[in-house]
């Protein structure tokens, strides 16, 4: 039998790097090594050019204008919605709401859905590894409604204790709001299972996809979640744009989040009626230029190939974990079986901030601190970590430089 195996061609990283103008700059006299991608990724030329093109050729306020510019801008803006819809596999474009970012998407649900549906005695489940953005909105809601917040604990490896989660679910559970991928640990959570269990208990599920959307294939129908939130800027797109996906029937049952232009049908002092989805949740002039450029970011990911990007990033992750582990005194925090390209670590006898400053001296950008996940740091009894997070344009050579930088830092700090 003649079996032909087609091995997909690996990415030409050198060529991809050419597409990111910022990677040419120097920091402290050395070439920039950008390893803070979980905070925000750099932007390819096509995203930057889309912004320039919009402001140079199409700038107009959308939806209400009758002139050509307004029509073009509206079409481009709505095309981004269609692109996002297919990017995450939503049933309809009405289910895609543009927001400022993941934080606003979560707050939108906490205010509009939460204030209508949560009452005294209800329970909301989150986990120990949530970003503050998926803690505080629910704390505020629970305080206001006299509801309670239940926290799924995590193991030493940084994985959710699913048995504990199952025990928490009950007739009082109204919502499970869970991070898909931990920003501080890189852990990929089993969201399908989490959703199935929550639904069986009669609860809705919100998934915080801020860290997952750029790495994993997202299919909200397959995931079966009720809400999914993510940000464009962690996905090679512009800052100031986020997405809230919501199941249509749930979004329709929700009152508006903010009042203003765009979201109304008719306004009379006696009674105002609201616009249809998705506009009901997009009060005021939206971030038109950035939403339009966001489409170019998704096109960049698509044309590069998410699977290929993922394979490259997994290589980087494995190499980084292997090489970093060789540094005496270094402990990787978060050793989940399923991880994205995030390595969080501590170095015995050193403060993460010192590590961050010394790496910056070598042009290496990492993040240090508690990563807006203080409860998680408390869980591991550490003040914070240093975190390197990789994107498509990072290289094995850059990881070697990180290791060298750390070795030197250890030597100076010891």
């Amino acid at each position: 039998m003649n079996v032909s195996l087609t091995i997909p061609k690996p990415l030409d990283i050198a060529a991809i790097r050419q597409e990111f103008p910022i990677l040419k700059r120097e920091v402290k006299g050395r070439p920039l090594i950008y390893l803070d991608n979980a905070a925000t990724s750099q932007k390819p030329r096509q995203v930057i050019e889309a912004l320039v093109h919009y402001y140079s050729n199409q700038n107009a306020n959308i939806h209400r204008g009758i002139h050509s510019l307004a029509e073009e801008a509206t079409a481009a803006y709505e095309l981004s919605r269609d692109t996002v819809q297919s990017f995450i596999g939503a049933r309809s474009r009405e289910e895609i709401i543009f927001t400022k970012g993941t934080t606003e998407s979560i707050n939108l649900v906490a205010y509009a859905w939460g204030r209508k549906n949560i009452t005294a005695g209800d329970e909301i489940i989150i986990s120990t590894m949530e970003h503050h953005s998926n803690i505080v909105p629910w704390q505020l809601l629970c305080e206001e409604k006299n509801a309670s917040l239940k926290i799924i604990p995590v193991s030493d490896a940084g994985e959710l204790l699913m048995d504990e989660y199952e025990k928490m679910l009950g007739p009082k559970t109204r919502l499970v709001s869970i991070v898909h991928v931990s920003n501080a640990l890189g852990t990929v959570n089993p969201v399908r299972k989490i959703t199935a269990l929550a639904h069986a208990a009669g609860a809705l599920v919100m998934v915080d996809g801020a860290q997952s959307a750029v790495h994993l294939d997202i299919d909200v129908q397959d995931m079966d979640c009720d809400f999914f939130a993510f940000s464009a800027h962690k996905l090679y797109g512009p800052t100031g744009v986020g997405v809230l996906y919501g199941r249509k029937e749930i979004l329709e049952s929700m009152p508006p989040f903010q009042g203003g232009g765009e979201m109304i049908r008719e306004v009379h002092f006696e009674k105002t009626t609201f616009n249809d989805l998705p506009y009901k949740f997009e009060a005021g002039t939206p971030n038109i230029g950035d939403v339009i450029a966001f489409r170019s970011a998704i096109e960049f990911i698509r044309s590069t190939g998410k699977e290929k990007i993922r394979r490259h990033e997994q290589n980087l992750l494995e190499y980084a974990q292997q090489e970093l582990s060789k540094i005496p005194g270094l402990t990787i925090i978060g050793q989940a079986k399923e991880k994205v390209s995030v390595v969080s670590f501590i170095l015995a006898g050193t403060h993460p901030q010192d590590i961050g400053i010394l790496l910056d001296n070598r042009g290496i950008a990492v993040r240090t601190g508690h990563h807006c996940a203080q409860p998680l740091m408390d869980r591991f009894c550490i003040p914070g970590t240093a975190r390197a997070s990789f994107a498509v344009y990072n290289t094995l050579h850059e990881i070697d430089e990180l290791v060298k930088g750390l070795q030197r830092a250890v030597k100076i700090l010891a």
Partner: protein
């Protein structure tokens, strides 16, 4: 600290010392060394009321007032911040409240360490400079109020 030097003179001394370094690594190595040499703060002072909060690292600061002059003692959990503290103590400790309140502390900018003051969320250094000046102001006010005795 050298009690004979004014604040401006000590600042100048530090700027000259830093002019000898030609790389960032060398500058920071020196600062780290200063941090390691900073006298240990008695643990009894490491309480919340003496803590100057930062987002990433913490600083503890206490001040003594003797014969019209302020003396500072401090610590941090991060060694680079400790080194920066050490320089601030060298410049400000042993000076009068008026001198401390007036101090411009331009040396921080001159030696290229302004980033540490700008990152208010990242460390407690900026808050510490403020706190050092607050102590000076507090003792100045105290001195200007006639004692009951």
């Amino acid at each position: 600290m050298n009690p004979d030097l004014s604040i401006a003179e000590t600042e100048k001394e530090i700027i000259e010392e830093f002019a000898l370094f030609d790389s960032w690594d060398d500058k920071y190595e020196y600062i780290i060394d200063l941090g390691k040499k900073l006298p240990v703060l008695d643990p009894k002072y490491k309480k919340d009321e003496n803590r100057v909060r930062g987002c990433q690292s913490s600083v503890w600061l206490v001040a003594d007032y003797e014969k019209g002059k302020l003396y500072y003692y401090a610590d941090s959990d991060a060694v680079i911040v400790k080194g920066l503290i050490s320089m601030l103590i060298r410049v400000l400790s042993g000076k009068t409240p008026d001198e401390i309140i007036e101090a411009k502390l331009d040396f921080i900018k001159e030696i290229g360490m302004t980033t540490h003051l700008a990152q208010t969320r990242s460390n407690g250094l900026l808050n510490m400079v403020k706190q050092m000046k607050h102590y000076a102001l507090a003792y100045k006010i105290k001195d200007s109020v006639p004692s009951k005795n």
